[in-house]
Amino acid sequence: MKTRDPAAPDAVHGDGGGPTIRLMTAQHELDESEQIAPAANDGDDPLAFAEDEVVFELDRLSCFYGSFRAVRDISLQVPKNKITAIIGPSGCGKSTLLRSFNRMNDLVDSARIEGRILYHGVDLYANGVDPVEVRRRIGMVFQKPNPFPKSIYDNVAFGPRVAGFKGNMDGLVEQSLRRAAIWDEVKDKMREPGTALSGGQQQRLCIARAIAVEPDVILMDEPCSALDPIATLKIEELMRELKENYTIVIVTHNMQQAARASDYTAFLTMGDDRAGYLVEMAPTQDLFTRPAHRLTEDYITGRFG
């Protein structure tokens, strides 16, 4: 064993490590003593996705703000038409990681990345990639509902308009609102401001706005943290319906939410250098019932975080 990164004494390399679930954490394999569950065998590795099922592939992704490294060497794959949850303690870089998926972090002057994010095999940060086009395909729902201070209709229609949509806008708006399970509540007040809705309705309006541009992926950054439990359940129900057509990545503080709503869960935590790193990613059921790492177990049982 050797310490790979002197700034991160907690990240100790395993010597070799099988091509197993630990592939996901190959850069940060934890001490053998931290391993509490045996790794799965090659054959039935639940994270061995077929190539055309992989939407995102992160290859040793690090995110920086200036000289501060917020996220360190994350490698994982996000499968198609599934809900992948990212959980972890506050400040471990979950949101930063999520925002690197659609180049939202480009809007922060000091932000940059190292490593690669492949989206259907294409490097999102390669030269010549247009971040505007990336964000059209990879939509986002934010922590705090942020409808435009415009009419409900215009909230939904803005995205298609800037994308140059020429078809039946009324139909598209209705379809988006229906998919976001809010049509019945707003169909008679399309001209009223979106900001006049309740918090839960606003968030579903924001989801309608995100799907109106017919993206491929929806990123959700703690979409329920500002909502009450009933509105939260509605959003979770909606997510399960949406995954038929979309790939969803959700960051959440709420472990029950990850357990209830997601298919896969990635657990991040913070190293001594305050950089977030991936401890493990597994099918949600497995991660919550038999976590492979002590850190995960401590977190999900509430002993830490």
Partner: protein, 316 residues
């Protein structure tokens, strides 16, 4: 309860009532409150006194002359002298200042807030703009004299005006209010929550679409309030106009063409007030009447700004 027997020991309710009853008479807090009221009365008192003096001395002249005072040109005899040219000159100046400083100032603010990345150059520019807003107006007057009157004479006021045309005054005033326009516009832009920008970027809008469809419309009430107030500032400025040639003697304005007007001689309300105040006492009524006109115009401009702000203000 009133019927509770008082048998030596007080009931719990009695104890609480005793401990929270009573008026505290703390002479220090009373003295401090009195001091604050005194400051308020002094400040408002000076203002009220000023207004009373102005109106008491000005109303008779205004009542006597009526509309004639607003339309008559400058003259050597107080009975004939009016603020016609001055009012027209001030309104022309304001319009010209708005035309120049609004696009420049708002454009600069949009660039600084929405486009420029946060580098030491941007921070330096922001600091310089803030400092420029505090530079005494006479300095802008000197700048206008050197640049617009002397260097650009053939453009701003050829012929008999010798550079001291309305254009020179307007350009000088535009430069004077530019930092204020930039600062107030930048503040209005900054008040638009970042979440709105993220939402627009998130559905695949370009920066231009974000600014055009969201940031500018939402910031517009704030921007207009600030810019209108900067107009009020330009309307009341005297010092730079004296340097860049607001005329204080009688003259004829040839309102034959816009170019002719812009390049021609002009005067402004505050300059006229300044000039009349130095004249013999017979002009006193005119001075106060002109001040009333000035105050009324300023109040109208400020009221417009407040109306716009209340009408279109957005809450997040």
């Amino acid at each position: 309860m009133a019927s509770t027997p008082r048998t030596g020991a007080m009931t719990a309710g009695e104890v609480v009532r005793r401990s929270i009853q009573g008026t505290r008479s703390d002479w220090r807090s009373l003295a401090f409150e009195g001091f604050l009221v005194l400051l308020l009365v002094l400040t408002l008192g000076v203002l009220a006194w000023l207004l009373v003096v102005v109106f008491v001395n000005g109303i008779p002249t205004l009542a006597e002359r009526g509309l004639d005072f607003l339309t008559s040109p400058l003259a050597s005899r107080p009975q004939e002298a009016g603020v016609g040219q001055a009012l027209a000159g001030s309104l022309w100046l304001m319009a010209f200042v708005a035309l120049i400083s609004f696009p420049l100032g708002i454009g600069a603010a949009v660039y600084l807030e929405e486009y420029a990345s946060d580098t030491w150059v941007t921070r330096l520019i922001n600091t310089v703009v803030r400092n420029l807003a505090g530079v005494p107006s006479i300095v802008y007057g000197l700048l206008g004299l050197a640049v617009f009157v002397v260097a650009l004479r053939d453009f701003v006021g050829p012929g008999s005006t010798s550079g001291r045309g309305l254009l020179a005054g307007g350009l000088t005033m535009a430069i004077l209010v530019l930092p204020i326009v930039i600062i107030t516009s930048a503040e209005a832009l900054r008040a638009v929550p970042g979440a709105i920008r993220e939402a627009a970027f998130g559905v695949g809008a370009t920066r231009w679409e974000v600014v055009r469809s969201h940031v500018l419309p939402y910031a517009a009430p704030g921007i207009f309030t600030g810019t209108i107030l900067s107009m009020a500032r330009a309307f009341g400025e005297t010092a730079p106009l004296i340097l860049v040639g607001a005329v204080i003697g009688g003259f004829n304005v040839e309102y034959d063409s816009i170019i002719g007007t812009l390049q021609g001689r002009y005067t402004a309300l505050p300059t006229t007030v300044y000039d009349w105040a130095r004249k013999p006492a017979s002009f006193e009524g005119n001075v106060y009447a002109a001040i009333i006109v000035l105050i009324v115009v300023l109040l109208v401009v400020n009221a417009l700004a407040i109306y716009l702000r209340n009408r279109f203000e957005r809450r997040w």
